[in-house]
Symmetry: C2
Subunit: 348 residues, 2 copies
């Protein structure tokens, strides 16, 4: 062995020893810090992430003073602006406009009848002045006379092709990766995840199971009266153009009461329409018996998504922004808290 | 060793060998016929039991042509007369009468106002002529102004002491042991069990979790409009005296559509008020894609429970009795199909 050879061997030996020690150290570290995987990898460290992880940990760890029995583990999520992008316009409103246009041929009376007339003519000026009642007249018309299966098929067919103009992506691609992680994290810890949305329950049921892993029976949304008939030996339940539950604002408290029948442990929203849901979650008479968490997704990122709060007509967060610090609700700052916005940004 | 001793020893040895062989045979038989336990031990063999076992087996065995993915496994159950005894009078009606009497002192106007007057005076003749609308006026009055938590507490307090006069038992003791086994059997096979009842959802939620293992979010019942308010820093949602969903008859089809959003695989009822639920289950456009089962509990046992069908005012099964053989719905003949009726009949 030459001196060079000896040196080389010694270096190799040293390297090999190092690798062995490093491997052992990694193993030990891995064993010591179970679980080693981050349940919310698309989140930056911060108050919101810490609060979510602490809540899930505290409510599920055996022997924890804040332990919550599995049957009570309910987490509620608004949809528009909380789970997917709602700007420049709510997705169901875009669907409704397209659907009214498609239905116009078989509804000739609509051509002279507001609010249908403006939609059919593409009169953006008039549409910009539509009231909430106008929108619900239009939305009701898209449901009326259809079974929920028929409506869901129409919605699913539209969602398969309609794109957000700015991102040139399907709406179901514009869901928030960090919130998908929150949904999965809660479920992995025995929580049932519910959607509680101002959108119609059948619009959300058209995609929620595939997109969010939320089954139809865990979707609470705006609903219409319906009429059951047994015609030609087939059972059919068809929507009537009359609201049963407007699941927005105070209606979200009613929806939770009726469909869930339990105060959620956690609720996530993004607008003033979610205040009643968060109040119900954190400030009901039953709330004190368990830890509770309320949070708003705060749209602060004009570059990667949109920046809006007090001054928008779509997903306004005004009173909620004032209430959040007073009530201990978390603001999820999209720009600071989220490493990525959409699933397609993830490296493969 | 004497001859007697030898004979005794030999007999013992033979017995021991036998026991060993029997034990081995039992073990082998046990291994060969997994599962060895009867999932419905309180049921006599018959068409109804066979149909239930076949449905559950066919829909859950991997590779079965009738396999149903877990997410679609939904079984729906009526409550009154299907899961517990409804004679001589629906339990919630008995509760309502007691509650109206208890509330009378603080509602002096009721003393002269029908239908309250007859209840307060115990005027059985007038009460016997009450219409369904009268009952819902009374039931609405017991809910109005209360949060669901307050109503459920009132119902639970009453259920803890009120007894069925004939059996001198709590109503929650008069649940059907064979149906408890059906609920548990479905759940053990990945089914979600829902109650779909004409009773109010909060009355059923007062006892369903403890009594049936059915959580509040799987109770669909008659509901009232409600008003949310944030008063003195507490979020409260109080019922209004106005029906939102009358979850009976055609309303059960609407309830399934709104709360479950999926056609059940199986539905169990006992009266004409369940026909729409069974039709929706077995004869919706979506029904054909999967096996489906509809069944009525048929009250045929005047000795152990009650015997009634076409001629009763409480839980009438008239049209349903005619439809069942035409539509392939099973009649669960209480007298023939059930070994015991109530859990307390089981030997300890």
């Amino acid at each position: 062995m030459s001196r060079n050879h000896a040196r080389a061997w010694s270096a190799r030996s040293f390297a090999a020893t190092c690798i062995t020690w490093i491997a052992a150290a990694v193993l030990v570290a891995g064993c010591a810090s179970v679980p080693a995987t981050d349940p919310l990898p698309s989140w930056n460290e911060g108050a919101a992430k810490s609060a979510i992880v602490k809540l899930v940990t505290d409510t599920t760890r055996g022997g924890s003073p804040d332990f919550v029995p599995p049957a009570e583990r309910i987490a509620a999520f608004d949809n528009d602006g909380t789970l997917w992008t709602e700007h420049p316009m709510y997705v169901e409103v875009q669907f409704t406009v397209d659907r009214i246009k498609a239905m116009a041929a078989s509804n000739p009376a609509w051509r002279t009848q507001p609010p249908f007339k403006a939609v059919i003519e593409g009169d953006r000026e008039t549409m910009a002045k539509f009231t909430e009642a106008d929108f619900f007249t239009l939305i009701a018309a898209t449901h009326a006379g259809l079974t929920s299966a028929e409506f869901r098929k129409a919605a699913a067919d539209w969602l398969a092709v309609a794109k957000n103009a700015r991102f040139n992506r399907l709406h179901t691609e514009l869901v928030y990766q960090p919130m998908l992680e929150v949904l999965a994290y809660f479920r992995a810890n025995g929580y049932k995840t519910f959607i509680v949305s101002g959108g119609t329950q059948d619009f959300i049921r058209a995609f929620a199971e595939k997109t969010y892993g939320v089954p139809p029976e865990q979707v609470v949304g705006t609903s219409f009266d319906a009429k059951y008939a047994f015609d030609a030996n087939v059972a059919l339940t068809r929507a009537e153009p009359k609201l049963m539950l407007l699941d927005d604002g105070p209606g979200k408290a009613v929806g939770i009461d009726h469909y869930i029948g339990r105060v959620p442990i956690a609720a996530f929203g993004n607008s003033d329409g979610d205040i009643a849901m968060l109040q119900t979650t954190t400030n009901s008479p039953q709330s004190k018996a368990r830890p509770r968490l309320g949070a708003f997704v705060w749209h602060t990122d004009a570059v990667r998504e949109y920046a809006y709060d007090r001054d928008t007509h779509v997903g306004r967060l005004d009173q909620g922004l004032t209430l959040a610090p007073q009530l201990g609700w978390y603001l999820i700052d999209m720009k600071k808290d989220w490493k990525v916005i959409y699933p397609y940004e993830l490296k493969p």
